[in-house]
């Protein structure tokens, strides 16, 4: 019996090539798309799940009540880790993690900037990052130790054995290579080239005991027998015990850290997981759309299959047998599609990885994949085959054999419902694509408030720090740059903020976080900022500017000075005098409102300097000149510069990925829906051929007939739009709430959605309608 089913399934597939092609291609793309999304979801979920002690590992977060709103953040003070390690019995190990920062590592004459972290020895025992060379408990036995990754070793030493070799850090401190870490897999949040111990940083004087300086991430490992509740309760008040900071501590599990990276008013909020859930829904939608095609085309063909069903029934087939047969047929189609889908996935994975910045591997070699994939394919086969099987097996043989094979009204109505469902999904996805794209365009075209053209920045090396003024003078006189400014951080980000700032008239009960920035001179000239009141800071012209500050408009609004110039601001136990107000400019996210920013004079610190390259020379000439001068003053450090416009473009990366993903998958969903509609239109045209012929003989023009044949489908698509657009409006408004600086969803964008959807449907259907309208009526009528 089984072979009989497979045989007839195969012959049916072969005989109805057009329908089979549509079904197989639809399911292939549906399954392929869903597999790709599911692989991506699996990848995102796998972050840091490979540590043996993963359930005992936590990030320690700060939590504080600011004016009735609970803020939570993962940056913690440097003394926290050691205190937790020493005082809390439930803590088995800890490590502080100073995020990667370019540091110069020099072996013999070769110096390279490497992304270097500062960590505690606990790092090696807490996490499962294998050491290729060195012992976990020995690598940081001495402060002057350096652990490199495999790739960093290759870059610095080539094939030489690095263990025991001397490497000079930042041209100052000699370190000995004590260990080599295997390169990190991509599915971990820890990514760096080199690690040095906090013990060394302490020796160098970089460690502070200031509990208000939240600058490192603190990880702890709990003893396995300790309950999370007990540990959390015990650790909660540690900061308050050791300092006056109004901060509680919470434990954020490492296992969820990648997907949940923020709290809203003290409650864990959805981060990346939101996108994962969204795309999981899209995966299901795509599969459903493909299954709907299968259902629609199979039931549409029921008249052709009716005779066979009648004969089988009178030959003794029960309904169960027929259901099995039709499910079997959909299974054959699904299995073929599932193999083609894997082929497509393997072709697309490299592009997908490239687009998403992931490193998803083809999992075909692993048994787990097949253990999941095979039932998954069977489930799809059952879903796709279920309705046709139930419907076809319900046909009554007496009616079929009497020639009453036209599908019952209910089936046609359900088919309409299915088409409406498909196009509702399609309309939602088209709307999502357009909204995401518009939002990104909107933020990209936002006036950042500064001129990114020909603007570069470099890290301030220790060598240059002392001779910066001479360097600056020489660069300016060379004509390579029109101006330079030293700053605390690149213009694309702020590295410091505080809630400790005060000024006259400030309500002492209100805690407000204000971003910090700094400059020595020419900030407005170099970055193209607009000073709207007062003047720029210029230490070279005004010696007293070392404690001057500039406020941005948002800061001015917050501080509410009537006459801001000359006002005093207290920060870091120093007094600063306002000399100017600068128009708001985008430092952090271009999707959010500009936050209050205070730009300090040279009494603050500098890590970076920006250069505005001269427009009179080529960029290459300018860079060559600057490099020459740089090498003169900072010979041991590489000339690693970054274009600000590139940095700015990177701010859109995550949203652009969302945009690309929605574009890919909505395109896919629309393609599959259209294939189904095409098949259905072909079938309907074939079914109505006699009617068309009669109308034609009676004088209907081709245009009349095309309108007749397409109008039914267009009505369905119009209903889909009526359902889909409000859903899209609702969902996309929720998405837009992620951005302060956002577009308003107007009628225009949804008008465009309607137009695109209708146009796509019309194009799909009209080709079949035209074919039918142009056919020779004699052929269809001859049979009567």
């Amino acid at each position: 019996m089984f072979t009989n089913y497979v045989k007839i399934a195969w012959r049916n597939l072969w005989r109805n090539k057009e329908f089979s092609f549509i079904n197989i291609i639809g399911l292939t793309f549906g399954i392929g798309g869903a597999v790709l999304i599911l692989l991506w979801i699996q990848y995102e979920r796998s972050f840091d799940q490979f540590h043996e002690k993963k359930d005992q590992l936590f990030e320690v977060w700060n939590q504080a009540d600011f004016n009735g709103e609970i803020s939570s953040w993962g940056w913690t003070p440097k003394p926290l880790g050691p205190v937790l390690g020493a005082d809390q019995a439930e803590v088995a190990a800890f490590t502080r993690y100073q995020t990667p920062y370019d540091m110069l590592l020099k072996y013999q004459v070769k110096g390279i900037n490497q992304q270097t972290v500062v960590i505690d020895p606990g790092f090696f025992t807490m996490f499962d990052f294998p050491l290729i060379m060195g012992e976990k408990d020995q690598v940081f036995a001495k402060p002057e130790s350096l652990v490199l990754t495999e790739s960093a070793v290759k870059r610095l030493f080539g094939d030489e054995n690095p263990i025991g070799k001397e490497v000079v850090l930042e041209n100052q401190t000699s370190l000995i290579v004590t260990g080599v870490l295997a390169d990190f897999p991509s599915n971990t949040k820890f990514q760096f080239d080199a690690a040095i111990p906090w013990a060394l940083y302490k020796q160098l004087g970089f460690e502070d005991e200031f509990w208000g300086n939240n600058s490192v991430i603190t990880y702890i490992e709990l003893h396995p027998e300790v309950s999370l509740e007990t540990a959390a309760a015990n650790i909660k008040g540690v900061t308050k015990k050791y300092s006056k900071e109004p901060v509680d501590l919470i434990l954020h599990p490492l296992t969820i850290a990648h997907l949940y990276d923020r709290y809203e008013n003290g409650v864990l909020a959805e981060g990346k997981i939101k996108m994962i859930k969204l795309f999981f829904c899209i995966a299901i939608l795509i599969i459903l759309i493909a299954c709907i095609n299968f259902m629609n085309l199979s039931t549409a063909r029921s008249e052709k299959r009716a005779k066979e069903i009648g004969i089988r029934k009178i030959s003794g087939a029960g309904r169960g047998r027929l259901i099995l047969q039709f499910i079997g047929e959909s299974m054959v189609t699904t299995v073929i599609a599932s193999f083609l889908a894997l082929l497509i996935v393997s072709l697309l994975i490299p592009h997908f990885n490239n687009l998403m910045g992931t490193s998803i591997n083809l999992p075909f070699g692993g048994s787990i994949f097949w253990i999941i994939y095979i039932p998954f394919v069977f489930l799809i086969g059952i879903i796709a085959g279920s309705y046709p099987a139930l419907f076809l097996s319900s046909l009554l043989p007496a009616k079929i054999l009497k020639g009453k094979t036209s599908s019952p009204k209910s089936a046609f109505s359900l088919r309409k419902v299915l088409v409406v469902t498909q196009f509702t999904f399609a309309a939602i996805l088209i709307a999502a694509t357009l909204v995401v794209k518009s939002q990104i365009d909107f933020a990209q075209s936002r006036n950042a408030g500064y001129d990114r053209d020909q603007l570069i920045y470099l890290m301030m090396s220790d060598q240059l720090r002392d001779k910066y003024e001479s360097f600056r003078a020489e660069v300016l006189s060379s004509g390579a740059a029109t101006s330079l400014t030293r700053t605390m951080s690149p213009i694309s980000e702020t590295w410091s903020n505080t809630w400790g700032m005060s000024w006259e008239g400030k309500d002492p009960d209100v805690t407000i976080t204000i971003d910090r920035y700094s400059t020595d001179a020419d900030l407005s000239k170099t970055l193209g900022l607009n000073i709207i009141e007062g003047r720029d800071i210029d230490i070279y012209q005004y010696a007293t500017d070392s404690n001057a500050v500039l406020l941005n408009e948002a800061a001015l609004k917050l501080m509410d000075f009537e006459n801001p110039l000359g006002q005093l601001i207290k920060d870091n136990n120093k007094e600063w005098k306002v000399v100017g107000i600068v128009e708001d400019f985008v430092v952090n996210s271009p999707f959010h409102q500009v936050k209050p920013l205070v730009i300090f004079g040279p009494k603050a610190w500098f890590n970076v300097f920006h250069l505005k390259l001269s427009p009179s020379n080529s960029v290459a000439e300018n860079l060559a000149k600057v490099e020459q001068i740089f090498d003169k003053y900072s010979a041991d450090f590489p000339f690693d510069y970054t274009f600000v416009d590139q940095d700015y473009a990177n701010k859109f990366q995550s949203e652009q990925r969302v945009s690309a993903l929605t574009l890919w998958f909505s395109g896919l969903a629309i393609f599959i829906s259209c294939m189904g509609l095409f098949g259905l239109a072909a079938f309907m045209a074939e079914q109505r051929l006699k009617e068309i012929s009669v109308r034609k003989v009676l004088g209907a023009s081709s245009a009349n007939l095309v309108v007749l044949l397409t109008s039914d489908f267009i009505k369905l698509v119009a209903i889909s739009l009526l359902i889909g657009i409000p859903i899209a409006w609702y969902v996309m408004n929720i998405w837009l709430e992620n951005f302060n600086y956002r577009i308003e969803l107007g009628v225009g964008i949804f008008g465009l959605v309607a137009l695109i959807t209708l146009l796509i449907a019309l194009l799909t259907v009209s080709s079949q309608a035209l074919k039918a309208a142009w056919s020779n009526p004699i052929k269809a009528l001859k049979g009567d």
Binding site: K307, R312, G316, A317, G318, R319, A398
Partner: protein, 232 residues
């Protein structure tokens, strides 16, 4: 002789939104084992409806129907399907072969649903195809055969499970006279071997093969003629 089919006050209505049509009205017939009965009457008189009910493809709306001494008028589709299996063979005017299956596979179909083992199926199919003189075309698909050949395959399929009754709905309607004659001779032969045959026909010539002719008009039995040589 024992009754194989017996209907008492059988009634069948067809209802659409506006009209109710009485397709069969108070039909009382008895068909004995081994009989060859022809049902005749003008188009729309209810012949096929009666054949469908007799063939357990449909239920009457009223009255009783005994098939093999079992009251089946209220049977569900599942029960009717069970009873049909192996007991009733159908032959149609339009042959009704499955286009996607070969002749051999078409004939094998009822045996598959009877869950017979493969070797037994093969034996029976070969036997019946040989008997129908169509064995040489067993691997052909229906469209590759002439009408007469297709009807021989259809008869082969109807008899392969050795049913007690063969119901034939205008079996020669789509055939030329020579092929029609051959089909009728085959049915006669089967009847001679003991198979009960109920045949709906328009053709007085074909009806002549039957022992008894039931004439329907407007859903009622108007006359029952027993052919001379079969009168008891």
């Amino acid at each position: 002789m024992e009754n194989i089919i017996k209907t008492t006050h059988l009634k069948k209505l067809y209802t659409t939104e506006e009209v109710e049509t009485t397709a069969l009205d108070d039909i009382n017939i008895e068909i004995k084992k081994g009989e060859f009965v022809a049902i005749m009457g003008p188009s729309g008189c209810g012949k096929s409806t009666l054949l469908n009910i007799i063939g357990l493809l449909d239920n009457p709306d009223d009255g009783q129907y005994h098939f093999l001494n079992e009251e089946v008028a209220k049977y569900s589709e599942r029960q009717r399907s069970q009873l049909r299996k192996g007991n009733i063979g159908f032959v149609f005017q339009s042959f009704n072969l499955i286009d996607e299956l070969t002749c051999y596979e078409n004939v094998e179909l009822p045996l598959l649903y009877l869950k017979l083992p493969a070797d037994e199926r093969k034996k029976k199919v070969v036997e019946v195809l040989t008997r129908m003189n169509i064995m040489h075309r067993k691997d052909h698909f229906p469209q590759q055969l002439s009408g007469g050949q297709q009807q021989r395959v259809a008869i082969a399929r109807a008899i392969v499970a050795k049913p007690a009754v063969i119901l034939a709905d205008e079996p020669t309607g789509n055939l030329d006279s020579a092929n029609g004659e051959e089909v009728m001779r085959l049915l006669e032969e089967l009847n001679n071997e003991g198979t009960t045959i109920v045949m709906v026909t328009h053709s007085p010539h074909d009806a002549n093969y039957a022992h008894r002719i039931i004439n329907l008009f407007d859903g009622k039995v108007v006359t029952e003629n027993i052919r001379e040589q079969f009168r008891v």
